[in-house]
Amino acid sequence: MAKLRFFADIVMNREIAMDIFHMKLYCPMAAKLAIPGQFLHMRCSDTLSPLLRRPISIANADERDGTLDIIYRVVGEGTRLLSAKKTGESIDIMGPLGNGYPIDQKVNRIAIIGGGIGTCPLMFLAKKLATKNSKSGNLVKHSVFLGFKTAKQSFGIEFFQSLGYDVHISTDDGSLGFKGFPTDLIQDYIFDVIYACGPKPLLAIMQAYAVRHNIMSFVSLEERMACGIGACLGCAVKMKSDGYKKVCKDGPVFELSKVIF
């Protein structure tokens, strides 16, 4: 049986916005298996400091050239060490892990809503949805709403635009696009399905909106993790019924309406 643990070659690792890094990995098996919403559990150091792996969302995967992209924000020692890795080094990864976004819905109007680093899994999702659309020849109206703290930390905008999405931008300080949250921008629209990822306050607002308009919505959650594979029960998230779920194994993607924030 194939084991989901690899030593991937780093093809590229560079800063694309303030404290935001883009790493490209060569790992054909993982690239082949990956679906949007899944993550890699990455060892940032060969030593015991920091001890635990870091779960990082997959921002893109290309089966043909065998590569995976991750985009991460430097927030602590683990991600700082990741950002210092050089092209040509190899890195210890487990994955792709988790369930991924369901994309089988036959719908016309899709909204993608991302906040900050939560934009990453949505990039991979947007690419898959675009491929699916071009195959089916459907003329669908997809919109992307992205929020960042400030213009300097924004990324991925051109990626969504190049795929033909209608992209709406907001920043907390108004330095790019609308001053406010992406949830402010979406209020005037109605969609058939919503895909979201971002900080919890943003997701809570999205949940209220989705429930009010009865829109099917999927969210990718973040939580501190140890094992990443459902064994330690460390990354619990409370659901409205059914007790706790594991973000790593039952998720990271959940139906938005079921999560308690």
């Binding site: 989901l4 015991l48 140890a226 594979i229 064994a231 619990a236 998230v237």
Partner: protein
Amino acid sequence: MNNDRISCKQNTHKTDLSLEIAGIAMKNPVMVASGTFGFGREYSEFIDINNLGAIVTKGLTFLPKEGNPPPRTYETPGGMLNSVGLENPGVENFIKKEMPYLNSLSIPVIVNIDGDTVNEYYKIAKRLDNVKNISALEINISCPNVKQGGMAFGQDPQNAYEVVKAVKEGTNLPIIVKLSPNVTKVEKIAEAAVSAGADAISLINTLLGMAIDIYEKKPVFYRTFAGLSGPAVKPVALRMVWQVYDAVDVPIIGMGGIFTWQDAIEFILAGASAVAVGTANFVEPQAPEKIVAGIEHYLKEQFEENIRLNDIIGLAHKANID
């Protein structure tokens, strides 16, 4: 298969890693620690579980338990705190949903059990007594993350005695008693457990610790205290294995921060007949397999031909006397 290089068969110089603990025959002394390996299935995509000496399941209670509110984990220098709170499906769901996979394994299955009351320990032991393919029960009298029971039973010799006695009445399976390090004299608890009929002792469970969120100005964990594990606790665990080895005659399963084969050898020389890998599983799923290979290599390199693992258990105590 990427495990070829740690296969046990290539050398004429024979090294026997097999052993028997409390009547459980194991092909090597490397187990996994309860709570770090789920019910085994979770790791099947990462290692060949049949390469382990034995598997120890996540702690079970009689009824399902929801566990503690998040956050449940917190990284510390060389370790981690956890406050999972014994989330588990309960004994009936375990038998229905998890035993079929465990039945498919060729290695001994040890089931870790926990209770709020002495009677609950008895009930769960009795329920598991006639379940096929369970090799032993490990009694958790050391969980620091629950409101009742758990560690309270492991901090007083009389309480420990009563729990072990009750479990012995409920089952004919071999009994391993898992001790808490959060005591002044661990050997007293070990002695009480053995006098009640424990067939083996395992230690340590996690060390009680805590963390404070300096911006929220409150404890990180809902239950304030949480269990510390990982390399940071290894010296404490090793010392306690040493003390228990001096105090009782039953086999000891040593654990606490074992990441490498060198760590495992230290525990064996201190008196552990077997070792369990815990937190290391989260970081390096192949840690147990690498440790098996490392122990074998060490025996070949350090000792005469035909050495058995048994011959080096507690060896460091002899040096200490000289």
